[in-house]
Amino acid sequence: MNILDKVKILGDAGKYDNCASSASKRKVDVKDGIGNAAKGGLCHSFINGRCVSLYKTLYTNACSFDCKYCENSSCNKRVAKFTPDELAKTFMKLYITNCVEGLFLSSGIVQNPDKTTEEMIQAVNLIRNRYNFHGYIHFKVLPGTSKELIKQASEFSDRLSINLEAPNKNRLNEVSSVKNFKTDILRRQAWIKRMKLPAGQTTQLVVGASDETDLEILKMVDWEYENFDLKRAYYSAFIPVPKTAFENKQKTMLNREHKLYSVDFMLRTYGMELKEFKQIMDDGNLPKEDPKLVLARENFSGPVDINESSYSELIRVPGIGPLSAKKIISLKKSGCKIKKYEELHNIGIVLKRAKQFISVNGCRQRMLGEFNV
């Protein structure tokens, strides 16, 4: 098998994993080496609107695990495997020609997780030490890997991650008979937390593979943010892959993934609490509409005065994000009042969404019920 075939097969097998190149705080002197990690990350191309930033590949797509949704568990697939040298050279060529921003390395599990991880570490070691690469590396920890090897991987990586796949033990048992939720995954996350990586750790869940509810997912993620200093969680809507155990299962609507990201962002960045969202959930699932809009309809009895509101009130108005809320507060502090909707538009507020919940200088949008017919 030639190298292009390997790039194709292993790239294709790794495409369902989510990652980003941002947020590494590591500072290095690049004079003797190659590459650096851009602060905000760079998207080097897009496919179907999704950013292709890192060289996202598996080390091998052969796998002895039986995850029912996973492409690697299917029969009749072409099996490929890099050697450490091949992987290092392929990645360096892509990096030097500015096609990718860093490396995302995951793998199927051959025989046992430690054996595969050892080979993955060899490849990363070559990239760091032979090629003097100083850029971004995201290393996927395989469930059940020993602590010693995770420690070794952390020395070469900016970010480590291990996929939760499902929100709790029972749900994970529905999709995999091999993985142990507590020992194989949560315990490893606790170890990674103590390693203090420059870009921290992340995780990923497959949404809809085990018929779990949104509340189950958000509860778990919220707990992880609190206990494991998770940088962020990724949600991947379940897509049935041919020749897997779940090939006839219905796919998850992408809208569900989008709503989970929206609530996740509000939990992580806005400082909102999960209990606020429980009141708008139906049987543990988020409403069909935008969660922030539904929450605002539930909570605001009338329009809020933009010049009198606090930060926490402003941030709950649809169309106003943390940045624009901070701008309004800074204007208020400097004694400058907002007098027109146009000024709000210029600040960056999406008036179409915000107008029904705010009043500016005594003016507000009239509701349909207020008109005398």
């Binding site: 790039v7 369902y16 690049v30 003797d32 080097h44 701008k327």
Partner: protein, 202 residues
């Protein structure tokens, strides 16, 4: 105009970016100096918004060119590429690549100007085309490391197409995130930009 008032716009804004805009006009700075500073800094007036937008557009273009430019490796190991920019961002782009690949000789240029930068950080302007500059510099230069990496295989295209998930096909988002004009930098075809179907193609 009061002297103290005159300079606050210069102090508060990153004029280095704004002055690179193709529509940059000194008069806008004079107009801004006569407006309420608090409103201007929060982009609450039309002129301040335009001013902010100029900076954003230049920064955005530099960012996109840095992201989408594919460097090529010449026979003797020079990294080079031709870029297509509206604003004057060529030096920003070459400085970025020099920070990323400090050991190599890099040539970046547009129709306006071509720059080369060596491992010591010495940047030179050239008035010839990128290809001519590379040919000229190759006479006294070779880099073994890059010469070894240079190969015929088109790994990038193979990798790029392997990342496609058909079930997540989103034409609108693709066109928004990767405007057609930047496709030239990447050397890949995109099915979304093939134009309208002709009647006999249905």
């Amino acid at each position: 105009m009061v002297a103290g008032k005159e300079c606050w716009v210069n102090l508060m804004y990153d004029l280095e970016y704004i002055k690179r805009h193709k529509k940059f006009d000194q008069n806008v700075i004079n107009i801004l100096n006569n407006q309420d500073q608090r409103l201007v800094l929060n982009k609450a007036t039309k002129e301040s918004r335009t001013f902010h937008d100029w900076g954003k557009q230049v920064g955005g273009e530099a960012h996109r060119i840095i992201s989408f430019t594919r460097l090529k490796i010449s026979d003797k190991g020079i990294l080079y590429s031709e870029i297509f920019s509206e604003h004057k961002v060529e030096d920003i782009v070459i400085n970025f690549f020099h920070r990323r690949f400090p050991k190599f000789l890099i040539v970046i240029g547009s129709k306006r100007i071509v720059y080369s930068i060596d491992k010591f950080g010495v940047r030179k302007k050239h008035l010839e085309s990128v290809k001519n500059v590379v040919n000229h510099l190759e006479k006294n230069y070779f880099d073994e490391f890059l010469m070894n990496l240079n190969s015929e295989e088109d790994m990038w295209k193979t990798y790029y197409y392997s990342q496609n998930i058909l079930q997540r096909r989103n034409k609108k988002l693709q066109v928004k995130m990767m405007p057609k004009k930047y496709m030239k930098h990447m050397g890949i075809e995109n099915e979304f930009y093939k134009g309208n179907k002709k009647l006999d193609e249905f």
